[in-house]
Symmetry: C2
DNA sequence: AGATGTATGTGTGCTGGCGAACAGAGGACG
DNA sequence: CGTCCTCTGTTCGCCAGCACACATACATCT
């Protein structure tokens, strides 16, 4: 999956911080490339780094039996590794790079050290964790009740937000994996969206043609997620 | 829903604390009855109290469109209001009393005051929050992939654990509501379980006859949840 | 050009769960 | 005692998504 490189290389979470805290983090961060398909860590792994995506984005995937299901998406509006706030050093989900781009990365030890020194940083990240939890529940219900077409539209919108580009690369197989449905289900839903002129795609290149139309057809969960983020993160 | 009153009126979370912290909390707590069907708070409400169930238990319910879905269960192994740790005073889920019994209740202001004074209390509760998040994801996947029969078995086991009784009262309608399926689906699944001599029920009185059998038929998520709790809470 | 691999489209039959509606069966209560 | 109400059982048609299988299109590499 290759995204047009995002232009704005900022992370909204970092932007919210006091300049002092942001600097503290930034000097300890290294820039890195997020390469599609790479697994940053799996459930139960000890987390080595925290990531603040600036361009790319990352899926949080829950595994069950031998299937998988995406339960969250982390882009430049958030961070990967937020559960370290809770004093547990292992990953609750598998983290899989979905959208190529860049991220800032910091070691867990540095991260925790800076975290201890800054109540304000702590405050912001705790609120982000709250948002993550809320969205987890939202996604659970969405996955249960909503049809593939609406869920696909939601996914495309969320990804577009995080990719900061109107087109990106992802195959039906992969989408099926994320949404926990068969590939054929995606093919049909994607076809419908294309016929409605909301998107266009060919061999993995997906282009969003009509955001408003997509929002209309997507389940309300897209808006609900944004609303939660806005309300809590301000 | 009326449970045989639980005999052991303890809360595992409280039991894990240092005696000092536990005392601090207990002196600020009041005993109260949990009455079936009562809503302690709804999504978005400002949380007035934190609850440590000792006998009864509470459902965390996510609402979407006009349907609902249980996304978590809080019994004497946990607490209701854990998200207050994150510095947000509103509820991310609706909290609905599922199993009659007792709970210890403390005002949010007292709770937060004590929390600030005790790093150890903080430590334990953060870990519990981590468990809650993990189970949220587990439940999301379970709800997506597993069949009603297995999910019902899981629910019964979880409830039995929290009710500390081998029988309790809950109707098919209510179970349907919790699992996000039709009542008829529950009726059929419950019938199957009964024919297999795993449970018996009549007019809402459900009795677990064969725990091991239920565990075998339930989806792996029951065990997964216990495993996570055990691993993180120790 | 040919060969191989990847991505998408289509078809057939199956099933779990849905919506709606109705029938009995047991309690509760006047 | 009869009446109402709650809880459970059953039926019918329907559909989204499933499993499996195969066909076509494009891309890339030799």
């Amino acid at each position: 999956m290759t995204f047009t490189r995002a232009v704005s290389a900022t992370n909204r979470l970092l932007d919210m911080l006091l300049p002092k805290d942001r600097e503290q983090l930034l000097v300890n961060c290294e820039h890195m490339e997020l390469n599609i398909g790479e697994v940053l860590y799996r459930v139960g792994d000890v987390i080595p780094h925290v990531y603040f995506p600036t361009g790319g984005f990352i899926s949080l995937v829950a595994s069950i039996d031998s299937t998988n299901l995406e339960v969250g998406l982390v882009g430049n509006e958030g961070m990967l590794g937020i559960t370290l706030l809770l004093g547990v050093d292992t990953a609750p989900f598998t983290a899989l790079i979905q959208g190529a781009g860049t991220a800032l990365r910091i070691s867990v030890s540095s991260f925790l050290r800076i975290l201890e020194q800054s109540p304000e940083l702590h405050r912001v990240l705790k609120r982000y964790l709250y948002v993550t939890m809320s969205q987890l529940a939202q996604t659970a219900a969405c996955t249960r009740f909503h049809l593939v077409e609406g869920r696909l539209a939601r996914w495309l919108l969320m990804s577009q937000d995080r990719a900061h580009a109107d087109h990106f690369h992802i195959t039906h197989v992969f989408l099926a994996y994320m949404l926990g449905v068969r590939r054929v289900g995606i093919t049909k839903a994607a076809n419908t969206l294309q016929q409605k002129k909301l998107i266009s795609y060919q061999r993995g290149e997906i282009r969003v043609l009509d955001r408003a139309g997509l929002e209309a057809i997507s389940c309300g969960c897209y808006k609900a997620d944004k609303e939660i983020y806005g309300r809590i993160m301000g």
